[in-house]
């Protein structure tokens, strides 16, 4: 049993924190979000230079050889300042789908461009009716000769400026079946794609994608036909841990910023932080953050230990982070008073981000249900 960060992780966290302290103050972030892509290409290049994009990939693949704890350490720092660069979608989520692909040719083509940051892949899986169930795929893939014809619609695909999409499509099985799902790499410039950009309220630029008879070469399929579900489930579980690490970073920022504000803002001749009712509410914010941080450690251990309960632990983490993330952000807004409800203060942006994190891959209720379905047989 060991929950401490390694020396390398501490150094990594420090270097991330230092960069963000210099480059991600609220005003700086506001300018970044206003970029056409919704993030700073310059920062992305810096992430690459600093080696952050290599973290979760094995040394054999040209990476740093980090694990979910290393990625989470970075993501937690990102959460503290609400980094908008597509690290999670491109490196943690799509990057891992490629890294664990059984299609070695494809992997060796794609991997270097992911690690260098030159290409940005994004996982296109959600559909209008899927209710965030990973196995719900109605997009079709029909084999014709050496290629597949894909038809369907994907929603809320992160990073509207991605260079490639990894599209989940079904060649067999019914709409909720775990078997029959394949993953196809699609160039974002493919003219058969109809891409509609949606600016999300957390500052991210996502897109909805439509396609009919989109022709993809068999060589661009990540696994054997119909075999992709276990890969998706494994990668998404790990990616959710990293996403929750971001949320824990944001929650940490919120309780600290609220306590700091309460210690300076005066009303009735005293700091509002001296009002006991507010103190106790801030303690609840702190305690909820610590509970979530504990679940983050738990889920990381479960993954690193190869525990059989890893999916349960991830579901619990996502459920609690979703619930408490919103709750803490709502409290932070309330305790900031009028300042909390303006776009001028960062607080509201944390609320928006935590609401979106709750929504990604299913909200608190859905993951609580997922947990209880696994636990109460």
């Amino acid at each position: 049993m060991d929950f401490s960060l390694t020396e390398e992780q501490v150094m990594l966290k420090d270097s991330v924190a230092k960069f963000l302290a210099d480059n991600y103050a609220p005003e700086q972030r506001e300018a970044i979000v206003k970029n056409e892509a919704g993030y700073s290409a310059e920062h992305w290049a810096t992430f690459s230079e600093l080696g952050w994009l290599t973290i979760p990939f094995s040394e054999a693949d040209g990476g740093f050889g980090g694990n979910v704890a290393d990625v989470s350490a970075v993501m937690e720092e990102f959460g503290q300042v609400l980094v908008v660069e597509p690290y999670w979608s491109s490196i943690v989520l799509a990057g891992q789908l490629i890294a664990r692909s059984t299609n070695d040719d494809l992997k060796s083509r794609a991997m270097p461009t992911v690690i260098s940051g030159e290409a940005q892949y994004s996982f296109a899986w959600l559909e209008a009716q899927s209710s965030f169930s990973l196995s719900h795929v109605s997009t079709t893939a029909s084999k014709k000769g050496d290629s597949y014809h894909l038809s369907g619609e994907k929603k809320l695909v992160l990073n509207a400026k991605a260079s490639h999409f990894i599209v989940a499509a079904r060649s067999s099985g019914d709409v909720n079946s775990e078997s029959g799902i394949s993953l196809f790499v699609v160039d974002a410039t493919n003219p058969a794609l109809k891409i509609e950009t949606v600016r999300l309220m957390d500052g991210q630029h996502a897109c909805n994608i439509q396609f009919t008879d989109l022709v993809i070469d068999q060589a661009d399929m990540l696994t054997q036909e119909g075999d992709a579900y276990p890969l998706i489930a494994e990668v998404v579980d790990e990616a959710l841990v990293a996403l929750c690490a971001e949320a824990v970073g944001a929650m940490t920022y919120l309780y600290k910023a609220t306590a700091e504000y309460a210690n300076t803002r005066k009303q009735f001749g005293v700091t509002i932080g001296s009002f006991q009712a507010l103190q106790h509410r801030m303690v609840d914010m702190f305690m909820a953050t610590e509970q979530c941080r504990s679940l983050l450690v738990r889920a990381q251990c479960a993954i690193l230990d190869g525990s059989e309960e890893r999916s349960q632990d991830v579901a619990v983490l996502k459920a609690m982070v979703g619930k408490y993330g919103r709750k803490i952000a709502e409290e932070a807004v309330q305790l900031h008073g009028g300042m909390g409800v303006t776009n001028e203060m960062p607080i509201g942006h944390y609320l928006k981000r935590l609401m979106m994190i709750d929504m990604y891959f299913g909200g608190s209720d859905i993951h609580r249900r997922r947990f209880s379905d696994m636990r109460y047989l």
Partner: protein, 393 residues
């Protein structure tokens, strides 16, 4: 003990329903809910209500009120909400008018009440300041006497719809000695006066409701003061009580719950309905039960006012529970509707009224309702003191 309506009351209900059907048209509804057309549509709507004699229904009869019983007020509010129609913009009719008719001079009443009723003047409220939020009495905007005028200097903040306002009613400091509550005066100020600057504050729903209003050497006739100098706090307190009674929002909650039930009852492509999901059903029931209680809490208060009681601590209770329930309803609405439409603040005109966008902006701006109009923390302090007799330190 009964909640049944008399035949007269039932007839009144029919009358209100008919009026809503005929006058609150889909076109007007669309315009009143869109920020670009909101101002003019609100004026139009209030003029329609005023034409019927209902705009200022809470006022004393001699000033154009309706003299409705608590039951009638309840019926009116319920039907308004059921039709999805907003109540009148409150700053004139509900906030400044009670102060005007209670404490204003005859000249002030004659000058301002009719145009307030007919919506020919748009009011805003100059109340909070950067250093005076929950602790309102700490306000520092100065009014220095200069002949028949006051010279005003200072900053008001969180001023809703100041960008549309013709006049602002303000609390200003006319005396710095004594307790903070003393030395405050209540002024009416023409927004066209030289020296007033209005700067927008964009709120978390990405919209422009709020403003900062700056006063630099603004000259205001002493004749625009309500009541006595340094007595403004007394008038303001009364106003606050009225404001809070207007804030329970039961009608809003009920309309939203109906909407949420409808959305949740839609059959999805996979043949399931959210309303059959046990978790959602339980959460919806929890909120509905609270709102059912709140509805009768409000009726009990209205009924007590009808029997001669004045709104006091009860208005704090209604504000507190009412705003909590509004937020609970907004959270439910978000959970039902946010899915794929509510997540973007870039909705074009067509999408403005989409379920998702409504869910996003109402949830977001709804965060403000427990902060403004006397924060819920302050309401709890008031209730602790007046209902429970608990001593402050």
């Amino acid at each position: 003990m009964h909640a049944k309506f008399s035949p007269e009351e039932l007839a009144f209900q029919e009358e209100v329903r008919g009026f809503m059907r005929d006058n609150f048209t889909p076109d007007l509804a669309a315009r009143i809910h869109h920020p670009k057309t909101f101002r003019d549509a609100s004026v139009e709507w209030q003029k329609l209500l005023d034409g019927k004699g209902w705009a200022a229904n809470g006022w004393p009869v001699e000033h154009g009120g309706t003299g409705w019983s608590a039951t009638q007020k309840y019926i009116y509010t319920t039907e308004l909400a059921a039709a999805g129609a907003p109540d009148v913009v409150p700053m004139g009719i509900k906030m400044v008018a009670p102060v005007l008719y209670s404490y204003g001079s005859e000249e002030q009443k004659a000058r301002f009440l009719p145009i307030t009723k007919s919506s020919d003047i748009w009011w805003c409220q100059g109340y909070s300041e950067p250093g005076a939020g929950s602790d309102l009495a700490a306000l520092q905007t100065r009014a220095v006497r200069d002949g028949d005028d006051y010279i005003i200097d200072g900053t008001k903040i969180w001023t809703t719809f100041a960008q549309y306002a013709d006049w602002i009613f303000c609390l200003v400091r006319t005396d710095n000695t004594g307790k903070p509550q003393q030395g405050i005066s209540f002024l009416l100020i023409d927004m066209k006066s030289p020296g007033i600057t209005v700067s927008p504050i964009i709120s978390v729903d990405d919209e422009h409701h709020l403003n900062e209003v700056n006063f630099e050497n603004v000259r205001v006739p002493v004749a625009n003061r309500i009541g006595d100098e340094n007595e403004g706090w007394t008038y303001a307190k009364a106003l606050l009580t009225y404001e809070r009674t207007a804030l329970s929002g039961v009608g809003y909650c009920k309309r939203k719950l109906t909407h949420i039930r409808q959305l949740a009852s839609q059959v999805s492509a996979s043949g399931s309905r959210l309303i059959d999901d046990s978790d959602f059903r339980g959460r919806l029931a929890d909120v509905e039960m609270e709102v059912m209680a709140l509805e009768f809490l409000e009726l009990r208060v209205l009924s007590a006012i009808d029997s001669g009681g004045a709104p006091g601590m009860e208005s704090s209770l209604l504000k507190l529970k009412g705003t909590e329930m509004q937020q609970a309803v907004q959270s439910l609405q978000w959970d039902v509707a946010a899915g794929f439409g509510g997540i973007s603040p870039d909705a074009d005109d067509e999408l403005w009224e989409s379920d998702g966008n409504k869910a996003r902006r109402e949830y977001m701006f709804g965060r403000a309702c427990t902060i403004f109009g006397g924060s819920n923390e302050v309401q709890r302090n008031i209730i602790a003191k007046f209902a429970l007799g608990l001593q402050a330190r």
